[in-house]
Amino acid sequence: MPYNIAMISDFFYPQPGGVESHIYQLSSKLIDRGHRVIIITHAYDSPSRAGVRYLTNRVKVYHLPHWVVYRSTTFPTVFSSFPLLRQIFIREQIQIVHGHASLSNLCHEGILHARTMGLRTVFTDHSLFGFSDAASIMANKLLKFSLSDVDHVVCVSHTCKENTTLRASLNPLSVSVIPNAVVASNFRPLQPHEVKTPQLYGDKGLLLPSPPDPSQPLGPGDPITIIVISRLFYNKGTDLLISALPLLLRMHPNLRFIIAGSGPKAIDLEQTLDSLPQQLVYLPSGQSRVVLMGSIRHEEVRDVMVRGHLLLSTSLTEAFGTVLVEAASCGLMVVATRVGGVPEVLPGNMTVFVLPEVADVVRGVTEAVGLLTARAVRRDRFHDQVRMMYSWADIARRTERVYDLITGSASAEDNSEYYNSEWENYGQPGTTQSFALIDRLKRYFGCGVWAGKLFVIVVVIDYLIYCFLELAYPRHKIDLCKPWPAARKDKGVERGGEVEGGEGEVVAVERYGTVRQKAHAPREVRREKNAGAPVVVTGLGLGTTG
């Protein structure tokens, strides 16, 4: 049964990031499955985003006016967005409110108000938190408040599920694990025709080692390029990288490094490189063995990745590790620290897991280099394998099942056959939440000795505001939004993100806001699409203001 879904989060485009692309891809695929999805976020200043916008594939985005405090998180006013959210929920006839990211204040407000209005709520957690420091304790308390009345929670990995279950004292049966995915067609290994044209990366490409030819097998002494793509922060393990780098350079004279990303630790990294002897960092030809690229856009990640053989991730905490999947999809062997959800993400033949110790990182890279040189891994098959493992269509299907579970309605046809009948009602009792105010208050009251009482007061006030709003802005006076006209099948496919141009040639609108044309995609499709679309496509700004 098709639902009207509102995705709500502080984090959305034009700001780049993992949560942002998750929301967009999920919404887009849910629309393909016949649902109506809107995204609610706050207004962005530069580039300016305010009001209502349509994105590719009929995704409608509401940018609410809000005061942004810190790193695009809005100021935590508990009640102030209620009138606006209520108008949107009624106008769009929302049935399910799906919040994202535990640090997003707007998401928590949306969930609270949605429950007051009697809507179903789902929350997706994208990150891991500890329990020991003061900030975490505070955040966990608030999460407990917000999630004590949520219908279902989605986590991106099993480790994340354990973490969230503990943090918010949830019933594990009402927590699902649905991973992130990658758009595999955006992360393809180097194609044979690209080997001829090494200008993959514009001007900077000249500085980089040329991409290895996938058709040529790797000899024992051939240069091996290690890619590091991470923001250079402490919790990304940059210290490990800095300490391991000289040892690796010394042990393996054929190693090259490409390090993409910026952050506070960039200076340490540069200082380390400067302090090393010249013959270690530079080749006899004068080329540097370690190339620091600074931060790169997400669109450029693939072009950097295909220049390497190995991806090294030294992160100290990671809920899912999308970059690992992207790298494997590009055909890279992965060396990653065994932290958080990383061990669940990729099979053992693509990865070498290491401990977060310098010696072990060196050991892992040596092992991976050995595997590559011995041709023990079939890197050419990685892409297809990853494509089988992670796809957004699959993620959307599984998310839809969560919606079915909380609304208690029957699954769609292609969704119901995935599980045996014995799993039909698994976790059902834990997920039905009563809307009666007294039941909600009971749940909030259990949050803690003092916090429980405080939360109950908040909920009661929220309910009173709701009653007031019902009087002040009566429901029947709010316009209902007309649904997007149901597209004809052929047209819908064309707009809908993917154009099947033959076997495996999935290209057209691949990424949010960027119409990408692969060289071999049919030209007519694009022209017609541009002509047919109501707006001009420029950069990230794809859409009209409604």
């Binding site: 500890g130 302090s275 905490t317 053992g348 050991r363 099942r401």
Partner: protein, 485 residues
């Protein structure tokens, strides 16, 4: 030492958040999953091989799988095979164990919670050390000492303020104590160096370097993981000659086959082990006339004199600094500052910490500065300020050293301070004479002992509520050991 030998220390310090290797180990076993498990296009022999492996089903990928399979066997055959498998009883599928993996398609629902593996990496109170009562009581003496010294300071101020005590007497006794403490510390240093010299010289000769060594010898580049190319230069013959001024060092360092580098000029500074490949003996050019020990003594004396005279010069200014502020505000302000001092003091610092908890020290000095403006003359102000520097700046350093070197003396000092503080408090509160002091000592001693015992017992009781949760979600603590050769 081979470069990457994982030492036992690094093993034991491995972070708790690292999951055990076992579930995901790469060892080729029949239980090990392969990427092919994500989609059922496996050829028959492979499948037989791992009859019990948790084969994921993946109907998401039917169309795409067909393409993949094309290279090996025919599409039709696989499809048929899969259909047959799917047709088989679902009871067989139920026995397939659930795996804590994301990449494998499993026939379990997404909210499936496996009773066996769910939260199996959770650790509660992993590093819990149950407290012992007497250890706690012994440790609480540090806090008692500091609180007592604060009380003594307040009592002295009150005495000076009420003109019952002469400021000169107070500061005279305090200065005497300070000098005595410094002499004692100096003696310990010398003794420690002699002892260390015997050990360090043969072992890791690069263990401790004084601050001048760090300045002189080691560029930052050495942080980067490079072992010294050559062993330390055999320039050490010079050392023993240089050091031979110091009688206590001569005999020892002469025996050491010229291996020992100059030891820490001040043992306060234990710099991290920094090797210096091109090792230059730092003293032979600069301070050839004096041993480092003597040089340090001179430096200390110089700074002491400097502080003394600048304080003397500043006293008139300090006296009138907060004169316009009303006394009530001064009492309130200094009380708060003293509280800050007590609560932010670094009670855990060892003898190597030079000035820990600068907030605490600064708060105390500021309190004494504002209090000084209530005093009648410049001499009073000077005495009080000097006294506060001695009590809050230097006395904690001495106490740390004392505890480090001699436990009985530490205990004796504690008792002495308790007696002094409670006696002073008794006299100040009552306004009376020595009899009240004795009463104060009796009361204060009992209260302090009871307080120490009760708080320790209470803390042990509170341990029941300790619930520290660790798991794979915690940020791992990286082990960055620099291997030098």
């Amino acid at each position: 030492m081979p470069p990457f030998e994982p030492s036992s220390a690094s093993q034991s310090s491995r972070t708790s958040s690292i999951q055990s290797e076992q579930p995901y180990s790469r060892a080729p076993s029949s239980r090990h999953l392969r990427p092919e498990d994500a989609f059922p296009n496996t050829s028959p022999p492979y499948q037989q091989q791992r009859s019990r492996s948790p084969l994921g089903r993946s109907d998401t990928v039917t169309a795409a799988t067909a393409h993949l399979v094309n290279n090996g066997n025919t599409t039709n055959a696989t499809r048929k095979h899969r259909d047959k498998r799917r047709g088989r009883s679902s009871s067989r599928r139920r026995h397939r164990p659930w795996k804590k993996l994301l990449w494998v398609k499993q026939s379990y629902p997404d909210n499936y919670t496996d009773e066996e593996t769910f939260l199996d990496h959770l650790q509660r109170n992993p590093r819990l050390q149950p407290y012992e009562f007497w250890t706690l009581v012994a440790d609480s003496t540090i806090i008692v000492q500091h609180v007592c010294s604060v009380i003594i300071f307040v009592c002295c101020f009150t005495g000076i303020f009420q003109e019952r005590v002469s400021p000169n007497a107070v500061v005279g006794w305090a200065t005497f104590g300070t000098v005595a403490g410094w002499v004692l510390r100096d003696y310990w240093h010398t003794r420690e160096e002699v002892e260390d010299g015997g050990v360090v010289g043969r072992g890791d000769g690069l263990g401790e370097l004084g601050e001048e060594d760090v300045d002189a010898g080691t560029p930052a580049s050495l942080d980067a993981g490079f072992p010294p190319k050559e062993p330390p230069l055999p320039a050490n013959g010079l050392h023993s000659r240089v050091h031979s001024r110091n009688p206590s060092l001569t005999s020892v360092s002469g025996l050491q086959q010229a291996q020992s580098p100059p030891l820490a000029a001040s043992a306060d500074l234990h710099s991290p082990p920094v090797p210096s490949p091109t090792f230059i003996p730092p003293y032979n050019s600069r301070k050839s006339s004096l041993s480092p020990r003597m040089a340090e003594r001179l430096t200390t004396a110089k700074s002491a004199i400097l502080i003394y005279f600048s304080l003397l010069g500043l006293s008139p200014i300090l006296k009138s600094l907060t004169k316009s502020t009303s006394s009530d505000s001064i009492w309130a302000l200094s009380s708060w500052l003293m509280c800050i001092n007590v609560f932010t003091f670094d009670y855990g610092a060892g003898p190597e910490a030079k000035f820990p908890a600068s907030l605490s020290t600064n708060a105390a000095l500021m309190a004494s500065t504002v209090l000084a403006s209530r005093l009648p003359s410049t001499t009073h102000v000077f005495s009080l300020t000097l006294f506060s520097i001695e009590v809050f700046g230097l006395f904690p350093v001495f106490r740390r050293h004392l505890k480090h070197h001699s436990w009985p003396l530490h205990l004796a000092l504690t008792i002495f301070l308790i007696v002094l503080a409670s006696g002073g408090l008794g006299m100040v509160i009552s306004g009376g004479g020595l009899g009240y002091a004795v009463l104060g000592v009796a009361l204060g001693g009992v209260v302090t002992l009871l307080g120490m015992g009760a708080t320790s017992w209470w803390l042990i009781g509170l341990q029941r509520y300790k619930n520290e949760i660790h798991g794979p979600w915690d940020p791992a603590r990286p082990v960055i050991r620099r291997h030098w050769d």
